[in-house]
Symmetry: C2
Subunit: 548 residues, 2 copies
């Protein structure tokens, strides 16, 4: 007769073994290695919480210190490969297989280890896609997560950085897995219950607070006039044109510039209340002036941002917060909101090819794309109309029954024709393709596919790909905004003028924008200090951004 | 100076007003009307929990009994319009605007009230899409939800039917909303904490347990040989052909037949372990034989199904369950799993047109599509390869760089050429289009758009739309499996034979299937009683399915 409780019994046995190192559920940091050696089995699928922002770093260190004779062959399934320890475990054999989403700072080392065969790669997912697999075929046996505080029953307070935690815990706990949380402190009563205690098996009191990276802070002082010009074109030629109210901003200076132009340039255009009112977005410090000027109605967040806690606490009408006053973020739900409830995704990229495929992957780095491919895709499952979405759909419709008209998500790439170190953004072939071949990826690491991109904005103008009717239109539209790059110089001038006449390419002058007006004086804040001032002293930037 | 706490203060005032009718958080059923009149304001966005299965019926009755002089102009934002009370409130003026997903039993009345102008419709969403909007522009001011039990602190046990509750509560509570839960009983300690008490403001002890509909139960006794033939073709021609392991089954007899053929026909084909191992699926009773025969590794559920509780409790290695032993379902996460972690969606529809657009909407009903448009769409944001997905992608690829190859989700429609009352399934024009015109819908209620469907299976054969290279291929592929309907009779016979030679149309004989073998004796269970027997007596069918 089949044993239908094999997994359940194994879980009970793991917990039993772990209890030897615990006082109730509580484990001192010094015993974390022993705890992990007790609960982990070779070959386990393990989620070591490495989010976009917060890191379960104490547990990462403990895992890397386990005896590879006891703990080996693990299959790591986690959003972020961010800390050195996330890769160290692959060098010692503690871990063997990897499925992940994002590895910003470790991208080069990931590429090397893949090439060297030290990591067996499953795939580089979007966040939401990896979360989805937690419930189907990548369910963790053990989750190692991070919180701010816990009580002795294991009730967990994750504070502003809730992020991935509820999703990881739900997949692990309810499918016979073991949940180990590191917390900054054990308290009698948590300020609010982000994770109910009956889902948490062990609580490790960490020696230091968990690590958080201020990933979304952009210093206005570093913003260039080119970025300001691009931002002006985006506001007038896209936000206003389509009436985009619900949106997500990607990471980078381009969208940060837009945020800082809303209360100045946007105000002058009379757009307040008409655009950019509802966001799926992390609490970008550069959003403060727009919030303070009454532009922003509501922001739901994936995670938090270092230094924004006091500000958010004082703006509960704008942000999602708990009874304790601090932000409640949730990456899975915010990614879902970005996918299905936003009319536009606007972000940056490193390379765009002649068809419009784009990628941030370079020849030596496997960085992953986080949430961009999810939010920067046109969801066919959407069934609610909105003005911007329907207008984009009408522009895209080539043939077919008008009664079957549907909308399109706006997916906008903001780029300068030449990026850092004057490397051209526009290329014949993405570096991503070369890398895929070299390390044998089954799927080329394209961030956003050509058929999802609707607009490309550079300092030379806006290319509206929705209005392109064939491959030649499209190629010349892209060449037509590619400036002095080789791709740009290869344009067919007559065709580009035709595209301009058709409104597919729009130059600053076509939009009534004088490039000389793109001045830093237009920025609502020109420094981090200005942002602090806008916030009434509530924004507390991390030390490395304090240059006054 | 701006007030950044207006919403927060309004929430506090609502709770304060509600407290007058409560003992702590607990409110007797008899005071529910008074409570709602105290916490609701005219024009509020309200989520009255109406899920795919469970219904907050006690609160629905209370809302419908409120004084329209006090409570009026509400904007209802909820998954299901299922109970009469969900529409009664629009007749009295208590509610005015509606955004929803599914209205199976009330579809005809919704259509009438839309036509009569009694309901101002926002849109008919998919579940996940509506949840997404809860965090962006349809955040509820008040949520009226349902649970099994609660303690006096408001900690909530939702039991097997957790469904939409965590998502509704997260959106409402953390954005200054008020959460009112009806529960079957107040207890000293809940069996597990599905919703932490600090997110629940009021608990109403309902006079009767909340209503749950056995929506996913299909009686094997009603299964026809045509359905069995279609199921055999799907298993051999699609499941086996693509090696589909991760999938979602829609509602209906077609997929129920597949479930019952896995342990018999599937076993004979040697497919055990090769197909249908991981599901995003409600606990269909017809899945029991496949589970008992060791076919199914894991099932994550949107909701539960009446009568399946004891069975699930004894199969914790297959289902997601809590420490209390019962199912933990979660519609938002399971829909996400269906979207991003499954390689196939297979379901039924009522009408298919010549391009392949399909709908379950008829001329007199606005039923909504629940989760089908979401799971039955090709998600462009997916970035992980799998064999079935890549094979489908290769079949679909017409032109372009092979290095840019990506996969495709399999989206399969299982239909008989003639449906109930011999109404043809294949039509020139969907009834949905007529309805959209009549009641002025901005978007035609198409369930799955033509560009997402990959296969249509009828008793005449399989049409593989991935392999079609132009509109004519596609039209004739559809006509070629449309049997004796007018659409089928309008086929170009030579073209259809050409499509058959190209493998685009496959007849039973092309698959090595003898239609005479499609016999009810192939079903692993031929009655509800057989299912009870397979379950070792653990499945407890509701009375209306007990016919022995």
């Amino acid at each position: 007769m089949a044993d239908w409780r094999g997994e359940r019994k194994a879980r009970d046995a793991r917990i039993e073994a772990g209890r030897a190192h615990a006082n109730g559920k509580v484990v001192p940091a010094g015993d974390a290695v022993a705890l992990l050696e007790a609960v982990l089995k070779p070959g386990d699928r393990v989620c070591l919480e490495g989010d976009n922002q917060k890191q379960a770093d104490c547990l990462a260190r403990a895992l890397s210190q386990c005896d590879p004779g006891k703990v080996h062959g693990l299959h790591m399934v986690q959003s972020g490969i961010v800390l050195p320890e996330h890769l160290d475990v692959f060098e010692t054999g503690i871990a063997e297989r990897l499925d992940y989403s994002y590895s910003g700072p470790q991208g080069a080392r990931v590429a090397k280890m893949l090439y060297g065969g030290q990591i067996k790669l499953g795939a580089v997912h979007t966040y939401l896609e990896l979360f989805a697999r937690y419930f189907i075929d990548l369910t963790p046996h053990v989750a190692l997560i991070a919180g701010v505080s816990a009580d002795r029953e294991g009730n967990l307070y994750t504070g502003p950085n809730t992020e991935d935690t509820p999703t990881i815990v739900e997949a692990t706990h309810f499918k016979n897995g073991v949940v180990v949380a590191q917390v900054n402190e054990i308290v009698d009563k948590v300020p609010r219950v982000d994770i109910p205690g009956d889902r948490v098996d062990f609580v490790v009191e960490a020696d230091t607070p968990f690590f958080v990276e201020p990933l979304f802070t952009r210093d206005p002082a570093a913003m260039t006039e080119t970025q300001i010009l691009i931002a002006m074109m985006a506001i007038k030629g896209i936000y206003a044109e389509y009436g985009v109210r619900r949106l997500n901003h990607g990471i980078g200076f381009g969208t940060a510039a837009i945020e800082l132009l809303l209360p100045t340039y946007g105000e002058k255009l009379g757009l307040k209340g008409e655009i950019a009112t509802h966001f799926a977005l992390n609490p970008h410090p550069t959003l403060i002036p727009a919030i303070e000027s009454g532009w922003v109605r509501q922001v739901h967040c994936f995670g938090s941002e270092v230094g924004m806690d006091r500000y958010i606490r004082e703006r509960p009408d704008v942000f999602f917060t708990g009874a304790d006053g601090s932000l409640r973020s949730n990456r899975a739900l915010c990614q879902t909101a970005g996918l299905y409830a936003c009319d536009m995704f606007i972000g940056a990229t490193l390379q765009i090819d002649l068809m419009g495929h784009s990628s941030t992957v370079t020849q030596s780095r496997v960085a992953g794309f986080g949430g961009a491919p999810n939010m920067g895709s046109d969801p066919h499952g959407r069934r609610h109309p909105s003005d911007p979405w329907m207008k984009a759909g009408r522009e895209a419709q080539i043939v077919g029954d008008p009664a079957l008209m549907r909308g399109r998500k706006l997916v906008v790439q903001l780029v300068e024709t030449f990026g850092d170190k004057l490397v051209p953004t526009f290329v014949e072939k993405l570096d991503a393709m070369e890398l895929a071949k070299k390390i044998g990826l089954e799927l080329a690491p394209v961030m956003i596919y050509a058929d999802d991109v609707t607009h490309i904005v550079t300092e030379e103008g806006i290319a509206n790909l929705l209005l392109c009717r064939d491959a030649d239109d499209r190629e010349q539209a892209i060449r037509g905004v590619a400036g002095y790059t080789e791709i740009g110089r290869g344009r067919d001038r007559a065709k580009v003028e035709e595209l301009r006449a058709r409104g597919i390419i729009r130059r600053p002058e076509d939009l009534g924008i004088e490039p000389l007006d793109a001045d830093r004086s237009l920025l609502a804040a020109r420094s981090i200090k200005d942002l602090v001032h806008w916030s009434g002293g509530l924004y507390e930037p991390p030390a490395r951004f304090r240059n006054w």
